[in-house]
Symmetry: D2
Subunit: 349 residues, 4 copies
Amino acid sequence: MDRNTFGNLLQLTTFGESHGPAMGAVIDGVPAGIPLKSTDLLDQMTRRRPGQSDITTDRDEDDAPTILSGVFEDKTLGTPICVVVYNEDARSKDYDPDHYRAGHADRTWDEKFGHRDYRGGGRSSGRETVSRVIGGVIAEKILPDAVSIVGFTRQIGEHRAEDIPEDLDRQRVDQHKTRCPDLEVAEAISEDLLDCKERGDSRGGIIETRIDGLPMGLGEPVFRKLKNTLADALMSIGAVVGVTIGDAPDNIAMSGFDFHDGISGSGPRAGISPAANGIQGGISNGERIRVLTYFKPASTTGDMSKSGRHDPCIVPRAIPVVESMAALVTADHFMEFQLNRSRDLTRTE
Amino acid sequence: MDRNTFGNLLQLTTFGESHGPAMGAVIDGVPAGIPLKSTDLLDQMTRRRPGQSDITTDRDEDDAPTILSGVFEDKTLGTPICVVVYNEDARSKDYDPDHYRAGHADRTWDEKFGHRDYRGGGRSSGRETVSRVIGGVIAEKILPDAVSIVGFTRQIGEHRAEDIPEDLDRQRVDQHKTRCPDLEVAEAISEDLLDCKERGDSRGGIIETRIDGLPMGLGEPVFRKLKNTLADALMSIGAVVGVTIGDAPDNIAMSGFDFHDGISGSGPRAGISPAANGIQGGISNGERIRVLTYFKPASTTGDMSKSGRHDPCIVPRAIPVVESMAALVTADHFMEFQLNRSRDLTRTE
Amino acid sequence: MDRNTFGNLLQLTTFGESHGPAMGAVIDGVPAGIPLKSTDLLDQMTRRRPGQSDITTDRDEDDAPTILSGVFEDKTLGTPICVVVYNEDARSKDYDPDHYRAGHADRTWDEKFGHRDYRGGGRSSGRETVSRVIGGVIAEKILPDAVSIVGFTRQIGEHRAEDIPEDLDRQRVDQHKTRCPDLEVAEAISEDLLDCKERGDSRGGIIETRIDGLPMGLGEPVFRKLKNTLADALMSIGAVVGVTIGDAPDNIAMSGFDFHDGISGSGPRAGISPAANGIQGGISNGERIRVLTYFKPASTTGDMSKSGRHDPCIVPRAIPVVESMAALVTADHFMEFQLNRSRDLTRTE
Amino acid sequence: MDRNTFGNLLQLTTFGESHGPAMGAVIDGVPAGIPLKSTDLLDQMTRRRPGQSDITTDRDEDDAPTILSGVFEDKTLGTPICVVVYNEDARSKDYDPDHYRAGHADRTWDEKFGHRDYRGGGRSSGRETVSRVIGGVIAEKILPDAVSIVGFTRQIGEHRAEDIPEDLDRQRVDQHKTRCPDLEVAEAISEDLLDCKERGDSRGGIIETRIDGLPMGLGEPVFRKLKNTLADALMSIGAVVGVTIGDAPDNIAMSGFDFHDGISGSGPRAGISPAANGIQGGISNGERIRVLTYFKPASTTGDMSKSGRHDPCIVPRAIPVVESMAALVTADHFMEFQLNRSRDLTRTE
């Protein structure tokens, strides 16, 4: 029964409390011989880090990852890779054990476990996601170079990006601190968030993730469809309250005639439908996959008796976390896909 | 690696192709001594059945379930329960192996598996969900009587229910063939669907599911939160393109001050937030859980070179399927919850 | 939590009580396109069948397998294959619910489950192994032709085979009804068992299984070594009380100098040791694997207040069951091995 | 697909190479509120440690465990517990990458993974078992006080203990450095091993493990019998080549009349058989469980071109490892057992 382990052929196990000795990840199932250094982890970890701009929390962590196992001479061994990040900036005196924050995990965890690390949420802290980012970076190393996974801010509060470039990479997304590629909307979001930060208010938002470059055939029937494993992965992130394939809520009201596209029959592109957003029958169709992840408004500081350190909107910093979970799912399915392909090779030999 | 198996302590394995000899389900992990007869399965199976009203497809199936194992003298044995439904109305001549239907699984399955049962979608047919309903009924028998899981039509096409009674059970939901409890909206939906059926058009929609009566404490940390296991379960249903906890898409644009509610501090209801829709930190908070499941518009008959048999909107018939997947998840978490409780008993002895 | 499911990439789920409607197996993970007919299952099922010679029980079953799913036009679909065998010769009146047979599962099952199918052991009956044989035959179809898995009677009672041909296949093993290839010892066993049958006495024994033709590299580190997955598989068979790699009990008393063989260094066969019996560091070394499975003496009829139908020694009929479990393990590891190989292909592309 | 993870409700994941930065264990599924300090781990870790007497290797490790997560204020949190042991005495210059040791994992790992940590066996080193001992100690804390798991040296080389006290605890076992409780035989073993050490020879042996104090009802049907999960666990230890329930090899030659015991019928002890060694139908019968674990002779130093550091017989130091694997299995089944019991509570409420 996996509680803190995610994945199938590729498995991420996370551990650590936000104010305990360390956060960590064990990644198992990584093939041998893949180049890996601890510095490879820094880019995405830095994108997730608190304190990276004036619209994020002030808590600063150095977050230097240490590889404890699974790597030898800067290449993976095929054995489990354990990476830890020792916790440093842990102001545990800020927290009060007898105080339940409304809408947080405090009360339900206490009810469930009886004994709780109340300091900063313990394991229910957003800091747990650092382990996911470690897993995500390693997962991406398993994927072919042709595959790219890029998340961006689609909406924060009332501001929704409309003018989004067809081609996006992480560098381009990072051009604005909001990670919204519609720069006009980005500016509006930025102003709104600075205002929120000052007033102690907060905003929810949507991250859109594009997965490009997958071959046709990823995803297994029925209970391991690409779409439900993605939903499982993304919905397991703390503040996430929804996952949709493409703009599902908008498509409900469409006529089937308008919604459905693609050509039936038997030609080379027969049966492929752009409206499917990359997934048909649970299986990748070789086109771009678009997934939207919905975040509820972050906790408001007015809501807290003791001042913690929080972002007015978690969305910009959550992008590498969403990308990481998507990468773990995609790499796992990719390994399953290779398994199928290798059977073909065997059968035709 | 579970492809056709869902769940953890309670496991549903489904098998069967829509035009093969039978559909089936193996349910493992059911405690011994629970009363079970094959007739117990009929209510929910009938609600899922095609041909039940003028707004559904004409394909009629008798769907008589046969229990092959796991039950003795009308009580469960604690061993795996296999239930099969033999396929009868299988007009396989309606289907053409060389024709890929756009937006369907046809092309991707062919690409993935090479060999495909093209008759009516084979295993990717909606008929696969009969196995899920069997599992769901049995899962509900594990749950305490106080727990109720009720799904209803929240929206179809442009018509969204607004006036929804606080108390709903399945009988009340079934008062209208659309299963929309806002009867005015239900009528509008009905008219729209009859019109769609005539024109070969189709509609998407939203099923809202209420889970009531759960104690505080269901759900495991991090990767087995109640919310992501629900998302996983519901998103694995064929036409589902989104899952949200409560009305997530509407909440994005709210101020954190408006969104967050509940009382912080240390009283008896401290930390419980109505805005959480029943799940905090991934764990049930003892209040109603509200989950929305988004269905894309069904395939349109204009889109098909050969006439199959399809519903203009799958939502009304999908309600027992959604309830069943929710029941499987809930019963699974309930067993985990009991496990925790039994540890407490042991420790205090 | 798998209770009635075995395996990883290839999974066998079994269901059925000996005197219920049917025994069955669901095999998931089988690649698409493999030729399979229900008649393919008959050879091994017949070798397991009761009533096949004068040294086995008289209970006769027809055991005709029916494929319910996963096969279309005599080829696998890549979807779960369900095979059932309907129970016929079920003389349930022979059994008394209030009578616990000593050394059987009767008492412990009753204690555990409260409600028990007492007729012939229900699910704890040896008849459960028919599902394993179905799984085993299908598993063998996944393995390359070069792989062979052959079990034979190594010992029954005091009679131990010494003169065993280097080359053995199932036909040759079946030349004697005892399935002991040392024909002189076979005759002694036969006489002993006929005498046992008359007196109601019974014998234990050892099945030796040879797995030939595996490439080097099957088995995963630490908790999925080839040796412990084989032990897990074989020890899960009802009457089995021990599993050893090669003649382990005899090797204990050897000097390390005498036991260890093979050449250290760096040549083509360097590091390979015949004493390893095919498994080094948990991984296949490309040589013959030899596994011994120890069966306790079967229940004695003097021990039963009501006459059931039992073999004086289960070993000859258990051979296809042991082969089947070995085939399931081997095929599972073979799929993992192919997965590794496919990664190599990808990396070198 | 679990490669480096063992268990079901209670899961141990191990990581670490013998000459890498650290060995480690993540234990998940441990209930909250159990007292745990890093010093609790020292007793069993010390019993496993090299260099503890003149009959073991000289390699000395300090083996100080550090708890990185899952414990707060010296009590478990119900979250994953990560414990690491940093590697110190790592003389990697003793090892030659181009040299395959016969009978070791060197060659097969190289073949399988391509890239290998050749220093001291890397992950295939016996040092990996330190992670298992960490898991075992924590597992024992989950078990009721009434349960005891005691392993001892039953045989080394030709010397087999016959005079074994009915009551044994670890202290008594440790009275002799060989951990053989038949002190006369212990002396003979000691002499033999000192002689082996001088000559570079080695011995195999048998560890007998007694599990006392379990209630009736542990073990799940068919594929999670107590006996096969024990065999799986014990056979996964490096040098183990066999596992038997009781003295299985000796029992083969017995008459069924002599072997079978216990009383059939319906009284309070009806159906319980001492010959079952504690397991009937795969389920604990409330009596002592006896499991024998067979170790092949350790590598001989004459066999190595470069002098490493090895024990003449691994058995005495392997006892805490065997106990730990048995504890993990037993605690896992105990949690399943409690789950069943809690269902009963619910049903009768």
